[in-house]
Symmetry: C2
Subunit: 201 residues, 2 copies
């Protein structure tokens, strides 16, 4: 009996979940197909029915992981206090990315992007989306006139993204880096990028 499209997606997801567990502890390249077999309870041959190669598993995984990040931003609420919304989202994103082996996966993705053009392309695409999204939010801030941006929208967006990425990755080597206690500092730094219309620069 042929599997429905839906069931196929489910199977793939199952494999990717197993792969993720392996990737966290061994990284992309030290994870073997057999590791993924063990973790998913599937045979090697069967995994190859759903993915053409190990490479494709890594790619699909990267897509999924990065997709997560952009959807997280997508519902950046269009609240009256847009600045607070940005700070909250940045903080929440960092906090979420710091749980459950996520920092390790992020490091793996950066490293892979550095040498694998396909992963790099995927990452770039999502990153551009992310920047665009943040810029839109910044535009909204400018338009409502309560605050002035002290720098270019693009630059501000990149800096916020970098700050979050940096915090997440540093968690790997500094396990007692507690994001909660960082909140006030993050708030100060992000807020400093804006000024009241009167004072300007």
């Amino acid at each position: 009996m042929k599997l429905s499209e839906h069931k196929i997606v489910e199977k793939k997801a199952e494999i990717l979940t197993a792969a993720q567990v392996c990737f966290v502890e061994k990284g992309f390249h030290n994870t073997t197909i057999n590791d993924i077999c063990r973790e998913s309870g599937m045979s090697a041959g069967n995994i190859y029915r759903y993915f053409d190669s190990k490479e494709m598993i890594i790619e699909a995984f990267a897509m999924e992981e990065l997709q997560w990040m952009t959807t997280a931003i997508k519902d950046l609420p269009s609240s009256p206090d847009m600045l607070q919304a940005i700070v909250d989202t940045a903080f929440w994103t960092a906090a979420t990315l710091m749980r459950e082996g996520r920092p390790e996966l992020n490091a793996e993705l950066f490293a892979e992007a550095g040498r694998n053009p396909r992963i790099s392309a995927i990452y770039s695409k999502f990153n551009r989306q992310l920047i665009t999204e943040i810029c839109l939010a910044l535009e909204e801030i400018e338009n409502n006139g309560l605050l002035v941006l002290r720098h270019e929208r693009q630059s501000i967006a990149m800096l916020i993204i970098s700050l979050v990425d940096g915090l997440v990755l540093n968690q790997i080597i500094n396990t007692d880096l507690d994001i909660m206690t960082m909140r006030p500092v993050i708030e100060t730094m992000v807020t400093s990028l804006f000024a009241k219309p009167a004072e300007d620069r």
Copy 2:
């Protein structure tokens, strides 16, 4: 004729330089000993006279790369304008780490630290040194009384480090990220962590 201690160090350095070239383009795990042979013009057997294993080459390389970072900070000048010195050093460090395949190597190091306890230990050690060094500079700022820290010393140090790391790594996936145009934003963010004594918080 036995090689002098000095010559041995030189040989090792030669191998590490070749390894670095390979690591940039293929990462630690896709680099083979033969790649390093080709790049260094040495035979496999000979390389094993200087390093016990590929693992040890990676470790030695990590040491060297991280050492660089701490020495860069070590001569954080004890200038009258300590705040400016910190901003300058952060900026200069980021700018330097963004050249010549360094972002790729940094990503590789983070990824490796996430799964290899020996690399993680090395990285943690250097990171602690870095934080200590920055905290000392912050203490000096507090002592001379011209500025007040708006947050804990440790937190400020970690945030600055994270910001720099994040910028460096984002360079990998955003090749038109130009650190020069980021300078004013970095300056704003770092400066925001301090206040004049009068206003305080």
